[in-house]
């Protein structure tokens, strides 16, 4: 078996876009003449990889990265606009929920439809039917129309059908997320056995756990291009690191230019002192600046939350009748002190939100992390002032 099971070379896919009323007619005309569509969205660009028998490949990427398009091309549902796809074997595809099922048909009738789609004769499918029904394990519902099924039941049946035929390549797109815990385990057990028997898996999932568990290789797609390809562990970690960085960026102040363009109130800076870590009972200074698009004094909402997001305390400047100090036409400063901070040891986040002068609309969100250290064994978030009344 020297020929790879699956080869993709420079595969690209453009989707035609209809941008105006009557644009459809123009599109049909272009397609009939054999020209490509005039306006396209490039869903995939220059994607290439090979898959040997027994290898398994996980595909990761954000929504809209082109994962489903790629799987559809491998499954033969759509033809690539550019490049070459070669498959040497039977492909079993499980693309999204209940793919290929007819809602008015019973489970059994749908098994027959799927079998016909895969090219099995009624006799062949009859021999597989019991196996499928047993694996799906949905009881008497097998005689009900699919439209009365829960999404979990649809996935069970879909998985049972796709797997009963032991395809050379099994393509699954995010289907494991729907079934319940025990069915997920059953599917994963099936896939592991399938892989151990030399089966090949093309798995698309947002669960890095599934990718790491089932795939040895992974491919990271972003905006239709391959960002990284390699060992599953390495690619998934790079992907996760990218996401952490991205969500961290979101919490940095937005620039004055952006705030100006958007006409929003925005926190320009947030400084805490001490920075990063402090001892229990120390004093915490917080100060910062807020951009105001219309020169009116904004309101600042300050809050302290636990690292997991549980709110501890929050206060807005207008609640206490404080007005912000005007630095320039559109910049306002605030400063306050939490003396003898009562937070118990742990990880916290100081948050500042800019609000409009009416204190109604809440704009951005800037955060600073702080670790409170101490040897206290008290429980909870804060020390409440208290007195023990000793009887002695």
């Amino acid at each position: 078996m020297s020929a790879p099971l699956l080869t993709l070379e420079g595969v690209g896919k453009d989707y035609a876009k209809v941008e105006s009323r009557g644009g459809q007619l123009r599109l049909v005309w272009d397609l009939l003449r054999g020209n490509g569509a005039a306006h396209v969205f490039r869903a995939l660009d220059n994607v290439g990889f090979t898959l040997q028998r027994g290898q398994s490949l996980g595909i990761v990427g954000e929504n809209g990265a082109g994962k489903s398009t790629l799987l559809k091309i491998v499954a033969g549902v759509i033809a690539p606009t550019r490049g070459r796809v070669q498959v040497n074997g039977r492909v079993g595809a499980l693309l999204e929920l209940g793919s290929g099922f007819h809602p008015d048909y019973t489970g059994l009738a749908n098994i027959e439809l799927s079998a016909a789609l895969l090219g099995l004769s009624p006799r062949e499918i009859a021999s597989k039917r019991e196996e499928i029904v047993a694996f799906a394990d949905i009881g008497d519902h097998i005689n009900d129309p699919i439209k009365h099924y829960s999404s979990g039941m649809v996935v069970r049946l879909g998985f049972a059908v796709a797997t009963a035929l032991r395809p050379d390549i099994l393509i699954t797109d995010e289907v494991l997320a729907v079934g319940d815990e025990s069915f997920q385990k059953k599917c994963i057990a099936w896939m592991e056995e399938y892989l151990a028997d030399g089966g090949t898996l093309l798995l698309c999932s947002h669960s890095m756990y599934h990718i790491q568990k089932l795939c040895r290789h992974a491919l990271w797609l972003r905006d239709g291009r391959v960002v990284r390809e390699g060992a599953a562990m390495e690619v998934t970690q790079a992907y996760l690191a990218f996401h952490e960085e991205k969500s961290a960026q979101a919490r940095q102040p937005i620039s004055a230019a952006v705030a100006h363009a958007a006409g929003v109130y925005a926190v320009q800076s947030l400084t805490i002192n001490p920075e990063g870590s402090m001892s229990q009972g120390e004093t915490l200074h917080v100060r910062g600046e807020i951009y105001s698009p219309d020169g009116r004094a904004p309101v600042v909402l300050l809050g302290i939350v636990r690292a997991d997001g549980t709110p501890v305390y929050g206060v807005a400047s207008d609640m206490e009748g404080v007005s912000l100090h005007q630095l320039s036409v559109d910049r306002f400063a605030f400063e306050l002190t939490f003396s003898d901070l009562a937070l118990l040891p742990g990880k916290y986040v100081v948050r500042a939100h800019a609000m409009d002068p009416e204190g109604v609309r809440l704009f951005d969100n800037v955060e600073r992390a702080i670790v409170v250290s101490g040897a206290s064994r008290e429980m909870g978030f804060v020390r409440l002032p208290h007195t023990w009344h000793d009887r002695t």
């Binding site: 459809q24 049909v28 559809k72 759509i78 074997g89 789609l117 090219g119 099995l120």
Partner: protein, 272 residues
């Protein structure tokens, strides 16, 4: 994209495309038949009751209200019935097939299969039911003493075959277009209605003014209607040169429709 079958690893041998397509066509065909009468108590009986009821209505309208005596000694009821059912079959076949792809949207988006099977199955289901109705109507006419030559079916059935080839071509054209331009179904209904009155179904070609006659005769359906009347009303079974031309025209329509369909079908997935 090339698909090759390998025997290694597969428990079930990879089927050839034609075996698969046949199984799929049969499945779609059954599905089309079932969904038309899904939920109705008497099921397929409607396929036979409906044409008979229509026949009674036409009988009443044409012999009692309009008191038409027929043309050239023919019974008007037989004259209309012989042509009207094939027309209804063509009209329904085209209309249903034009919107048939939407019913298979889930499959088209998720599964690789030849999309034209949907149109074939839709047209085949319509024509099967309409042909059954046609035979019932002819039989009823014979029983009621109308002058029908049943041996004319020897020519009438092949005529239905020729008609089917043309209908599939037209249906494929509109079905493919409908995916991109939703107006097709709305334009199709009045257009077919107008075409019905421009076809000598309710009147003979001889009543059409001389100048307009070539324009009416150029309509392929006028030819079908004429040949059906030759066969079933007069018992003329001889083949003509025109029949060969008709077969060529039907095949041309079929291949033109299929060419358009195949050009557009790779893009169905995104628009259906």
């Amino acid at each position: 994209m090339t698909l090759q079958s390998t025997s290694a690893g597969g428990v079930v041998p990879t089927p050839s495309a034609s075996v698969r397509d046949r199984a799929l066509f049969i499945n779609f065909f059954r599905r089309e038949l079932n969904t038309r009468y899904l939920g109705s108590v008497s099921g397929f009986a409607w396929a036979f009751v409906h044409p008979l009821v229509l026949l009674v209505v036409y009988h009443f309208v044409f012999t009692t209200i309009f008191r038409t005596s027929g043309f050239g000694g023919q019974s008007f009821l037989a004259f209309v019935a012989v042509a009207l059912w094939p027309w209804l079959a063509a009209q329904e076949g085209i209309q249903r097939a034009a919107t048939s792809l939407a019913g298979y949207a889930g499959l088209i988006r998720k599964v690789a299969f030849p999309h034209e099977l949907v149109v074939y199955a839709s047209v085949a289901a319509t024509l099967t039911l309409q042909l059954a109705g046609y035979l019932v109507v002819l039989l009823a006419l014979v029983i009621f003493g109308e002058p029908i030559h049943l041996e004319g079916l020897l020519l009438a059935l092949p005529l239905w075959g020729v008609m089917a080839i043309g209908i599939i071509g037209v249906a494929m054209f509109f079905a493919a277009l409908q995916v991109f331009v939703r107006d097709v179904e709305h334009v199709l209904m009045p257009a077919l209605m107008i075409l019905m009155y421009l076809t000598p179904i309710l009147y003979p070609l001889t009543l059409v003014p001389e100048v307009m006659r070539p324009w009416v005769a150029i309509n392929p359906f006028s030819w079908i209607v004429g040949r059906l009347r030759d066969a079933l009303l007069e018992g003329k079974l001889a083949l003509e040169w025109g029949d060969a031309i008709a077969v060529v025209v039907a095949l041309a329509i079929f291949f033109a429709g299929r060419w358009v369909f195949r050009r557009l079908s790779p893009h169905f997935e995104d628009f259906v």
